[in-house]
């Protein structure tokens, strides 16, 4: 039963990922659709970013006393200035560690 649950979950996940890729055989997308799809990275990645920064372990909003906000703000500033992913990680993690590790 457990294996079946795992395998069905895997098939569903694959089907979601495969659906549009399988269907689209023409590389010219209608402009209205293109206008929506160009926001997919910004929108979905923002959805994955914000809770990681602003929510604490018990899934509640934490604005004051939240070192992750300062770390992310520093990382954002550095990424705008340098456009380097590595320097962004180093900055963000260093600020986070400076504020959390003793």
């Amino acid at each position: 039963m457990m294996w079946a649950t795992i395998i069905i979950s895997g098939i569903i996940t694959f089907t979601i990922r495969f659906s549009a890729i399988y269907k689209v055989t023409n590389s010219t997308t209608p402009e209205w659709l293109e206008n929506i799809l160009k926001y997919v990275p910004t929108s979905v990645l923002a959805v994955l970013i914000f809770p990681e920064i602003f929510l604490n372990e018990s899934n509640t909003l934490e604005i004051l006393n939240n070192p992750k906000i300062l770390a992310a703000a520093a990382a954002l500033l550095v990424t705008i200035l340098t456009k380097s992913i590595i320097i962004t990680i180093i900055t963000g993690m260093s600020v986070l560690w400076a504020l959390t590790l003793n």
């Binding site: 457990m2 055989t25 206008n35 799809l37 910004t42 923002a46 809770p51 990681e52 993690m93």
Partner: protein
């Protein structure tokens, strides 16, 4: 490396996909370790935990899966929940489809299987540049995807057999949102519509984060798309 390999656009894209994804591995490895540990703690066998990483291959939904099952959730709800969490991958599939449109089905199957958040994030960035080598962009996704796949399997395995080998207090998982931030920042700075899209989607995600079945992910993502399009000031073709 022989010159011919370096010069081949296929291997150039492949290795640029591999190297683009390397920084994210800082966050993926601890995530995989945690999943391996979590699976055993939740009462799954080592085999089930290990193969879940290749059968489902979607970290957040795997964590939800083991937590739901260990709290006694019925299989239907568990499966449904995994589907909802991973529904955002439909948006990835739709947005990346045109770059893979020319490929034969076996390629599409492999690349769909490898289409995780991290691989999508780094490879769509390359594809949207639409510079040289456009016909070989799938090698970029293959490079980023296979690197993540190997890392995910290995770190799940290590989590199962060794356990926590990286101190949790280092919070290395935080590297993943930092990389995502770095990926979307240029567009956000450049276009008001992208900034509004990110802000609205992100803020809604925070306020919906307690929705059942993790519905907040897909709801907030779609809301962000709507806001982005509303603020899109580029002239429509009919008005040009």
């Amino acid at each position: 490396m022989p010159n011919s390999i370096i010069k081949s656009p296929k291997s150039k894209e492949f290795f640029s996909g591999v190297s683009a994804v390397l920084p994210i591995l800082i966050g993926v490895v601890p995530f995989g370790l945690i999943f391996g540990i979590l699976g055993l703690e939740a009462g799954f066998t080592a085999n089930q935990t290990f193969f879940m990483s290749s059968i489902i291959f979607a970290g957040a939904s795997q964590v939800a899966f083991v937590k739901l099952v260990s709290s006694g959730t019925i299989p239907f709800i568990t499966i449904f929940s995994v589907g909802i969490i991973n529904l955002r991958h439909f948006l990835y599939s739709a947005s990346i489809a045109k770059y893979l449109a020319h490929l034969p089905t076996p390629w599409k199957i492999i690349l769909s299987y490898l289409l995780t958040d991290e691989a999508y994030a780094v490879s769509i960035k390359r594809m949207q540049e639409e510079k040289e080598n456009t016909a070989f962009y799938h090698y970029h996704l293959f490079g980023s995807g296979i690197t993540l796949w190997l890392t995910w399997q290995t770190s799940t395995f290590l989590g199962i057999v060794i356990g926590q080998i990286i101190p949790e207090k280092l919070n290395l998982g935080f590297a993943i949102p930092l990389v995502f931030l770095s990926i979307i920042a240029p567009e956000i700075i450049k276009y008001k519509s992208h900034a509004m899209c990110a802000l609205s989607a992100g803020i809604l995600a925070i306020f919906l984060s307690n929705l059942p079945l993790n519905l907040w992910i897909i709801f907030s993502s779609i809301f962000g798309l709507v806001i982005g399009v509303l603020f899109d000031k580029r002239p429509k073709k009919s008005q040009q």
